[in-house]
């Protein structure tokens, strides 16, 4: 190897070294959101939404999910993060209350009641569901997502729900971490 070849090799090696020393940390910096956050671990608890006596059998009612949230560096106390449709079932039917997340399984818009009566309707791309949450047209990839519901042991039981998000567009219900 002559002097010039050595300079050529040195330039390439050192140039790559400098670029890597900056580019690798920069890539990690940009990929921060992929890192598992240690703060979101506690968000999968059951939340009280309503008393059972507040609900009418067969009439869906909407309730907001309110949580303390950490948005990057800011801590918001009690912010609405989503909403849930609760439908009380006739006595003796199990489960006594069905909870649907209002997030559409299609592309995540908020599902509303069908303005023409009966079932649900998403205003974004016209996903339609019946009162049981089953698709009424071909737009949604799966039925409305049901959430885990429990009743407390009080005299007037309270409805507690575990709010979760699921992957949109999938045909299976896949919880998002």
């Amino acid at each position: 190897m002559n002097r010039r070849d050595f300079h050529r090799l040195g330039s390439v090696v050192l140039g790559s070294l400098v670029k890597l020393a900056v580019a690798v940390p920069a890539a990690a910096f940009l990929l921060t959101p992929l890192r598992k956050s240690r703060k979101s671990a506690t968000s999968s608890e059951f939340e009280r939404l309503a008393n059972l006596s507040q609900l009418e059998v067969g009439v869906p009612q909407s309730f907001a999910i309110v949580r303390d949230i950490t948005d990057a560096w800011v801590k918001y106390p009690k912010e609405p993060v989503g909403s849930v449709w609760l439908v009380r079932q006739p006595d003796g039917v199990d489960p006594p209350v069905i909870a649907f997340t209002a997030e559409c399984p299609h592309l995540g818009c908020a599902i509303n009641l069908n303005p023409d009566g009966g079932g649900f309707f998403c205003p974004c791309h016209s996903s339609a569901f019946d009162a049981e949450g089953k698709p009424r047209n071909h737009v949604p990839p799966r039925p409305m997502d049901r959430l885990e519901v429990e009743l407390t042991a009080d005299d007037d039981p309270q409805v507690v729900v575990r709010f979760q998000r699921f992957q949109p567009l999938a045909e299976e219900k896949i919880p998002l971490a």
């Binding site: 330039s11 050192l14 910096f29 890192r35 560096w73 800011v74």
Partner: protein
């Protein structure tokens, strides 16, 4: 396949010819270490631009969000401390390289024809780098950046005639706030970079047009050895130096664990010792020698005159003997550089020998640690209203400050207060230990020893026959008052388990209740004394602070015997809460939680 794409691109864009013409530039006298300084400066600038772009993806420019987003970059994001640290130390490296490059070009006399234009462009680029430094320093909106900006913009405002207008435009109004941050941000990441890249492109293009000049003594000597070209002979040297410089920057970043972040900007803090970065210390020190009225002479006129002198060199070179101008210019710069070095040392020495500065800096460091802890604490975090409220809603910071200002004029806290105090020590007020101490020795200076108008407890102590064990029980009972909820009645409280059957209950009724009335529970009547229902609770303390003259408290005392009231126009509701929470030791401490995790290797 790869070649055919490359050929197609080359055919359309002519890239190969362009890079070849750059790379094949002949180096007169061979490649040299001396030619490195400009390339190193440009390379570190590119690293600044790149790390800056990275941080733009996470930084949020407003007075309420800036600190929080920088905190997030530095302490939460992956390698954020590394990127920000490189940017921080890169800025300082640029200053050093800029000075070296300037000295070298001046020494080589490269302002002479035909390089006048490039000399001027270089001076303008130097001005831009200074502007980068000033605008970037302020962006975290921490104490350091806030006060430094205030000083620098006030220096601008001190200039004759246009000064105040320039300052108002730069600051974005008469107050420092959102507009200051957005304007400085716009300058730092938009306007200055565009000017810088245009200037740099021209600077490099002109440098190539004029070529390198070997030192004068070798002008006539034919270059020896093989013909050397820019690529790879000079690039190798450039990159070796750049690698070494970057190595130093990385070492500094790792050693310091990133870049510093002070407590959030607090315009009300009275003792923040603002200092500029070390490379502006000489200016800072020089200002001390000017009377305030003539500040602008030291900060604007002298540097401005120096800058103009440098800009005039190409012209002077033609009018006066060339060698004389060169000698004088170099002499001037070296004398000034020596003077600046001396002032810098002097400034650091003065600070090192100044106990007041040391103390203020120690305070600022405590505030910084507290702010970083609060931001990282899962119980607290940066509030939506902005990082400024992080400290304003911290009982340990705000509550203590209010207590020291308003209460420690008469009271003491853990033995701290005025020399001549006249009221009780409030440390652990409301706890069993405090009550037990009072019951043991009410005339102690920590209790009512300094306030003879409150002699009821002293009188009681002289007559009381309670044993030590019984006093313990009373103290335990009374300390429980602090936990009575605000909306409880006396009956509801007595119905709570563990209240009526508490061993202290009977003793309290018999020994304390003869003076201390609690309607529906004790009769009182022997002497005037405050109602102790809820004593030590936030609601009791709030009433005591707001209305000590209330009939259920010390209404029976004369106005000049009683603690002065703190109405709402003197003490806000928020500050009242802070004082009470501070007295109740109701604030998070790092020892209660795991230390803030930092993603250092």
């Amino acid at each position: 396949m790869r070649n055919s794409i490359a050929d197609w691109l080359d055919d359309r864009a002519g890239l190969r010819a362009a890079t070849r013409s750059v790379g094949n530039e002949t180096m007169p006298g061979g490649a040299r270490w001396m030619y490195v300084s400009g390339a190193a400066l440009a390379s570190i600038f590119l690293i600044q631009a790149f790390t800056g772009l990275m941080m733009m993806t996470a930084y949020s420019p407003s007075s309420s969000t800036a600190w929080g987003s920088v905190y997030y970059i530095e302490y939460e994001m992956w390698m954020g401390w590394f990127i920000r640290g490189l940017h921080h130390f890169g800025a300082q490296t640029l200053m050093v390289l800029l000075l070296l490059h300037f000295l070298q070009v001046l020494w080589a006399g490269a302002y002479r024809a035909p390089r006048e234009l490039n000399w001027w462009i270089g001076l303008a680029l130097a001005g831009l780098i200074l502007a980068f430094s000033h605008t970037g320093y302020q962006l975290p909106w921490d104490q350091k950046g806030y006060w430094a900006t205030k000083v620098v913009t006030n220096i601008m405002g001190g200039a004759p005639v246009a000064g105040p207008y320039v300052k108002t435009v730069v600051v974005g109004g008469s107050e420092y706030g959102n507009q200051t941050v957005t304007r400085f941000y716009g300058l730092h990441v938009g306007i200055l970079p565009v000017l810088m890249f245009l200037g740099l492109a021209a600077h490099v293009a002109l440098r190539r047009r004029h070529g390198f000049t070997p030192p004068e003594t070798e002008y006539v000597v034919k270059p020896k050895g093989p013909r050397q070209t820019y690529w790879p002979d000079q690039t190798y040297r450039n990159l070796l130096v750049v690698t070494a410089i970057l190595g130093v920057m990385i070492a500094l970043t790792v050693h310091h664990g990133g870049a510093p972040l002070d407590a959030p900007a607090d315009p009300s803090s009275a003792d923040y010792p603002a200092r500029p970065e070390w490379f502006f210390r000489f200016l800072f020190q020089m200002l001390k020698y000017f009377p305030g009225r003539l500040e602008w002479v030291g900060s604007i006129a002298i540097p401005g005159a120096l800058f103009l002198t440098m800009a005039a060199l190409p012209i002077l070179d033609r009018k006066l003997p060339s060698r004389l101008v060169h000698f004088l210019a170099c002499g001037l710069i070296f004398v000034l550089a020596g003077g600046a070095g001396f002032l810098t040392l002097q400034s650091f020495q003065e600070d090192a020998a100044n106990p007041k500065f040391q103390e203020a800096r120690a305070q600022a460091d405590l505030a910084r640690e507290r702010a970083l802890f609060l931001a990282s604490s899962p119980k607290v975090g940066v509030p939506p209203e902005g990082a400024g409220y992080l400290m304003r809603r911290d009982p340990l910071t705000r509550g203590r400050a209010i207590l020291e200002k308003r209460c420690l004029v008469c009271h003491r806290f853990d033995g701290v207060g005025e020399k001549e105090w006249s009221a009780a020590d409030l440390k652990n007020f409301g706890t069993k230990a405090w009550v037990r101490g009072l019951l043991e020795k009410p005339d102690s200076d920590d209790y009512f020893g300094k306030s003879p108008e409150c002699d009821g407890m002293v009188e009681w102590k002289q007559a009381s026959k309670l044993t030590a064990e019984e006093l313990d029980q009373v103290a335990d009972f009374v300390a429980g008052f602090a936990k009575i909820p605000e909306d409880f009645t006396v009956d509801e409280w007595l119905d709570q388990p563990g209240v009526y059957d508490h061993p202290g209950n009977k003793l309290f009724q018999k020994d304390c209740g003869t003076c201390h009335v609690i309607p529906g529970y004790t009769e009182g009547g022997l002497r005037d004394a405050p109602d102790l229902f809820g004593w030590g609770s936030p609601q009791w303390m709030a009433r005591m602070i707001r209305r000590p003259d209330s009939p259920v408290l010390y209404g029976y005392l004369g106005d000049d015997q009683r603690m002065p009231a703190s109405p709402r126009d003197e003490l806000t509701e928020g500050d009242l809460k802070m004082v009470i929470r501070y007295l109740m030791n109701d604030y998070p401490l790092p020892a209660d939680e795991a230390a803030p995790e930092k993603t250092t290797p």
